[in-house]
Amino acid sequence: MAHSTFAINPRWPGGIVAGLVLALTLGTLCAVAIRAEFQTGFGAADWAAVRFTVSQAFVSALFSCLLAIPVARALARRQFRGRSALITLLGAPFLLPVIVAVLGLVMVFGRNGLLNDAFGLVGLPEISIYGFHGVVLAHVFFNMPLVTRLVLQGWLSVPSERFRLAASLNAPVGRLIEWPMLRTVLPSAFLVVFLICLTSFAVALTLGGGPKATTVELAIYQSLRFDFDLGRAALLALVQFVICASAAIVAWKVTSPDGSGAGLDRAVQRWDGGAKRDVLVIFLAATFLALPLGMIILRGATEVLSLPTDIWKAALRSAIVAVFSSALSTVMALALALRAGRLAAVSGGLPLAASSLVIGTGLFLLVYPFVNPAKLALPITMLVNAVLALPFVLRAMAPAVAKIETDFGRLAISLGMSQQTWIWGVVLPRLKGPIGFGAGLAAALSMGDLGVIALFAGDGQETLPLAMYRLMGAYKMDAAAGAALLLLTISLGVFWVCDRGGRTVADF
């Protein structure tokens, strides 16, 4: 059979990256498996952690989906000023450091929060944000906007002729058009959220805890950090991997790649009323998302400048880790995108099923016999953050790389371009936009990460999220709000700078 004889994209860098990713995900898992203490078996507390992990993820995904439907429907039908700003805001939780959002939620729903103040005024009993419902609340805060965007995309992908047809036939729009659309969009959205919530660590660390509200991830952290029970931590890490891997495999089969939000700017013209309800829904959703952030900004603004130097040092540490981690993630994603094919796809998706605590535990077990793990806290955090961001960066870059190859690969080959000229002279200049976006994403994700660092950090190695967590633990809420505002500003700022930098130089 005739076949294409020559390829211009280099394949070996992708091979190296794939090896590194496999070593960090599956290799650390082996290190974990060797140490796991199977004979002691699974205690009651461990089972409780598994049950809690799965049930909170299920409920979080369910509520995220149920609440997203009316919001997406309202957004699809209404055109108003600030609509595109609101849709942008819906994308923000992805970049938002978890710990910042948690603090914001505590300020609204916590013991001294806005809601309890209001309840106190009218004589209602106090509610608590800690425990199962608090974890679910935080997960809904993060994931409801994501599902809203996915469902909104579904709504807007229905050709407007169909709504016109339904209107002219006086047919039930819901049964004829909307329900079939939701049936294709919702299952994958549900699974994505379920998967994200399974690996959630920082939320459980801050809002969960105790025997009733401990996730497997949190149990791993506690057995390593407090009990120093390596065998149990390893066993739990293995369980966590199995949970995530099975969810990821299911998600892989049902998900279609989501768009970047392109084309969400228009509203569907409809003829079936419901304007007042739509307005109310949009108002409630916007309040739910904006209020916690508003509280952070309000309370933090007065505190930022009086933050102790320790916090500024932690911020600098975080920023340095974020820069290196982002650079590494971007280079790795580029190598995988150039390689394409199955190995690249698998190693680009594998980190989604891995958890930073499992990788962290594996690395801890590997380095522990040789050096004090605390000495390697920052380099390891950088590496793990880069790998965990890889799927998202790859997703931002791979389609663009593939298009460059389809458009110009043959031309470059026939002109006798070297791989070096191809990469530096063609691929990189044409890829500035996606590179900027991907690098910004990786930097923001690393900035806000509170995972593996919690496992390793000794004194004087805190990153900003960890320092903030410790402030919250010490009930220094004002200082925590200041640190949160700083963290929020740097995270979004670093994303904005990268994304902007990539876009302004793109030429067509």
Binding site: M1, A2, T5, L411, I413, S414, D507
Partner: protein, 228 residues
Amino acid sequence: MLIFDDVVLKQGDFSLSVALSIKQGAVTALMGQSGAGKSTLLAAIAGFLSPDQGQISVDGVKLNQLSPAKRPVSMLFQDNNLFPHLSVLQNVGLGLRGDLRLSAIEAQHVSDVLTDVGLGGMGDRKPAALSGGQQSRAALARVLVGSRSVVLLDEPFAALGPALKAEMLDLVKTRLAGRTIVMVSHDPADAHRIADTVCIVADGCVSAPVETKELFANPPEALSDYLG
């Protein structure tokens, strides 16, 4: 001479047999239904497909083992003939050397060729700042600065209006005189305008080249089916 020595190209269920030779310096049009294999044949000459059987050679040089860049063949594609982020000068310079490093003499040569195709003084522009016709001229200039003896045209001017297309074809005919040109065409008028000979691609075979005038005066069944 461009010679196809019992060449067979296969892609999945599709198979194309070619056994013919094309004279040095001739302009030959490939005509046939879409999907008949015209572009496949060009891809094989350019080196993007290797034949399952047989040998393609140019002036006695066997092509099968040569990479696309080493073949004495330049190609103009349907679209994306210019890199949008490179200047016209850089784009055309790529026909001279593939590493984007032009010496002063080479740059001068490129400028001269640009002037020759009517793009004098436009070397610093990006392709987006050129009209469609000018972009075609720039792509043609890149073929001109090189000295490869075979030029393949995979309908590069299809997006141009009739008058511009005719102008470009005339430019091909005059500026590339002496080179062996193989062009894919859907439009009989293109073949009429510049082709010396025509090969009909149909039913998995490529016919031997026939004089253009003779062919249209006396069209075989495959061609009259196509022309309707």
